[in-house]
């Protein structure tokens, strides 16, 4: 390995660490909302504190309970979103690519700007 290889690896790892720290700074508060979008359009927002199930266009079913969100059911073959661990922190998301459903947690106070900066 040459010296530049190490610089490259170190640079990328440093960038990853910085990005990671920025993400961790945004912690979920009580006002955190669950935002669902389908095909890029906003489908609806729901409070993270309130337990409920949300049907998304008969293709997905989302379960909000105990301050965490998980995909309960999806009609797609790969089931990646259903097997995804439940999410609770600001900025975390569950994405169902076949149905183009994006479920993400946003802090009511600083959602928009954080989302773009990230």
């Amino acid at each position: 390995m040459k010296r530049n290889d190490w610089f490259l690896a170190a640079g990328i790892l440093a960038a990853a660490a910085i990005l990671f720290c920025f993400q961790r700074l945004g912690k979920s508060g009580e006002q955190a909302v669950v935002s669902i979008s389908v095909d890029g359009d906003l489908y609806g927002t729901y409070s993270l504190g309130e337990d409920r199930t949300v049907e998304i266009n008969e293709t997905n079913r989302l379960e909000i309970s105990g301050g965490a969100v998980r995909m309960d059911w999806a009609d797609c073959p790969d089931q990646v979103c259903v097997n995804h661990r439940s999410i609770s922190r600001d900025g975390e998301s569950i994405i169902c690519l076949p149905n183009q459903v994006v479920v993400s947690i946003e802090n009511g106070e600083s959602g928009e700007v954080d989302g773009i900066a990230r």
């Binding site: 040459k2 290889d5 990671f20 900025g91 994405i95 690519l97 994006v102 990230r118």
Partner: protein
Amino acid sequence: MKNRATYFGVFTALALIFSYVETLIPVNFGIPGAKLGLANLVIVIVLYKTGFKEALLLSVTRVVLAGFLFGNLFGILYGLAGAVLSLAAMECLKLRSSFSVVGVGIAGGVSHNIGQLIVAMIVVETYQVGYYLPALLVAGVVTGTLIGIVCREVLRRINNVTLV
């Protein structure tokens, strides 16, 4: 010319076998889309032994064939973006003699992940997928280093073999 077609066929078969072997290994990094990138071994070796054009052709052929065989249309879309971007990055680093094969491998692994992430952002029209960026960067460095080291050893051993 006859030999070129033969070699290309052999390398395509080899890359496809690596893609298949990869589907057999249940590596789960906890991140969707993260995998070892075994097929990149063949791509990097072709890039070094023949050239950019052959490697690009091989890469695209492999992604399309592997997509139809083991994946789906979405997979092909992601794979193509990753493959083209990673090959471009690897060629750039290869042209600068200050990087070794390992550096080229790292650039390939990382840019492959970035390419897929960009397509994911376009497909789902959200920046939220960027949440995976740090994890994918680290995964790219790790897998890229491994692939790069294996490539270096292979290239050292086939140093006196000339392809086309």
